[in-house]
Symmetry: C2
Subunit: 400 residues, 2 copies
Amino acid sequence: MSEYKTFNADDAMAFADEHSELFGDHSKLTAEEFGDGNLNLVFRVENDKGTSLIVKQALPYARCVGESWPLTTDRARIEAEVLKMHRRFCPEHTVEVRYFDPVACAILMEDLKAFRILRSELNAGKKFNHLAPQMAKYLANTLFYTSDFIMSSENKKAEVARFLNPELCLITEDLFFTDPYCNHERNNIEPSILEKAKTLWHDDALKAEVAALKADFLSKPQALLHGDLHSGSIFIDSETCKVIDAEFGFFGPMGFDVGSLLGNLLLNYLACPGLHDFDDCSEQQSFLLEQAEQLWQQFSEIFAELMARETQDPALENSLYQQRFLRQVFSDAAGYAGCELIRRTVGLAHVADFDSISDAGKRAQCQRNALKLGRELIMQRNDLNNISQLLNVVRYQQTD
Amino acid sequence: MSEYKTFNADDAMAFADEHSELFGDHSKLTAEEFGDGNLNLVFRVENDKGTSLIVKQALPYARCVGESWPLTTDRARIEAEVLKMHRRFCPEHTVEVRYFDPVACAILMEDLKAFRILRSELNAGKKFNHLAPQMAKYLANTLFYTSDFIMSSENKKAEVARFLNPELCLITEDLFFTDPYCNHERNNIEPSILEKAKTLWHDDALKAEVAALKADFLSKPQALLHGDLHSGSIFIDSETCKVIDAEFGFFGPMGFDVGSLLGNLLLNYLACPGLHDFDDCSEQQSFLLEQAEQLWQQFSEIFAELMARETQDPALENSLYQQRFLRQVFSDAAGYAGCELIRRTVGLAHVADFDSISDAGKRAQCQRNALKLGRELIMQRNDLNNISQLLNVVRYQQTD
């Protein structure tokens, strides 16, 4: 293909046919588009034996809140390359990219049609004991193996440059760290919590901490992040989970990926009283806190073992340094989790966890709790010594 | 010029003639090579009216300790581009680059023949009250204007990539942070302090702190650093000083540049008892501590004012954050100054401040003091609240 054109179903079939061995001359192919069309076209291409692949094509714009803005199709390259790199280090939990075409900005990838989106499952009250252990493994391996502990500094620098991703990073920089803390037109604030939201705009102590978290997001390229690891970027079934949608990937602070996922577990935890009846709520919340605890506990255990066993830079082999490094990742993760709670409540991009709560009073209460817990996590992040202390803050907030 | 060839004097004259207006058809030109020949050829090209320019050409290798290793000539581009960028933000104190040829890897630049190298002047007991104020201005402006406070995140990311400089960074990564803390063949340790030096190799508490400083050097691209701001990279005369030799430039932690210069003032301070008689020593030491104090004080005042007045990112406008940011730069600077003291004492690259002390006993005492003070600065850097406290550590060390 010599120039970019938007795929139709026939193009998607031809693309899948050309770049895979699954569709022989005598197979009948079908294709259906089922993306939300905001950023990408997503086709399922299937043969007559029921075997299917996904074709995902980046559109040269983002449609959001009715407004259209140009957005680099280079994000398709970023997504394909991040997923390939992460799959190298954690094949079990990263979706497989079969082929990437830089002109069409299209990715041919594994179809996870037997899987469901984690967010929908959590909102429906489903429980998965394999979630935290598997995501801990994904996080520890993808972050460690793309870090200064193991990469040569020359290779690491080249990779930082290959994954700069300025346009998509800017979206996060704005939506995560700037908009929620000022009266920005992009914000999406329900009238019932407007007064609470306004207190953020004048909370200088909080804004100082968020500034530090943003500065690290801008200038702490510790590892190749997924960059958007919320519960809508994770597919899950009864046995395994797989990460998708890595177009926000870049080299950034490790705590951002860990904190994004932790924050999404906590968002769902806070939404439980609005989503479930009393008994189900209590069970679901216990499940979520257990998962949050295991996520950090197992992540830190695997990461510590990788540091002890695999570190290549002799100056970083010091075990006291390694302990402190993990401690810092924990503080960062707590801070970024707090930012996630706040920006999903008052920022542009809400989540179904809250928005699907039909009772307006309950919804507002959940949102107020999110703002309060978000603030606590950000402010207390350097004083929290471990995940148990962090979860005590969560429990305390809820009784408030 | 279509391919790289090593310049002789005639080539240097032709290069200067072609790329400047100072040498007319009827001028007689002369050229002399006066570099040390380790890394670069340096020619002074002069016309018959006494006007001169410098031609500096990068050699495709570094000669060091009798051994030759390949070294990218891309460092000439880095040097030219860093100097141009720094001159944009502090023209008074950055040497002027007139022309850069990427094929010849040669820079045509201002000749500072009326200036002297700061290190030689300090070793000779010269005092310059303009040193600290001018270098504070240079540091504050070059670091602020290449930081996230003012650059758009997109532009900053592109600049980070343009100045990756992996090969020269690796030299610093090794010589500054790794070699001195292990039994490395590149180390250069006088027998009289070998026992003291060996204690570094097993000092796990110190090595943990040095690991953190190295990790920041690897992954904290706060601003475009000079990267090698010791007192041999500063030319000075009775009125002004100018920074040269920016081939180690890259985006790194601001405290590295500040700490390198601070460390060099402290190295000279520690060398005074070996370089001067009793009265001169005392006077020179007072001068050096005053300069160290002013360097930080004025740097932080100018930087604080720039943050308050010029910050473009609204999330970084918070004044509490800005205070804490400067506090962190101070801690980093103290730590990197400590590393400089240690690596100049036991590492590959020594300095004349110590090496020119002829009395072996005094030299060994100065070196022991440097190891001790270096360790204190690194270990205490997060507890030192201001430059006065830091200088008290220096004074206390000396009486030891």
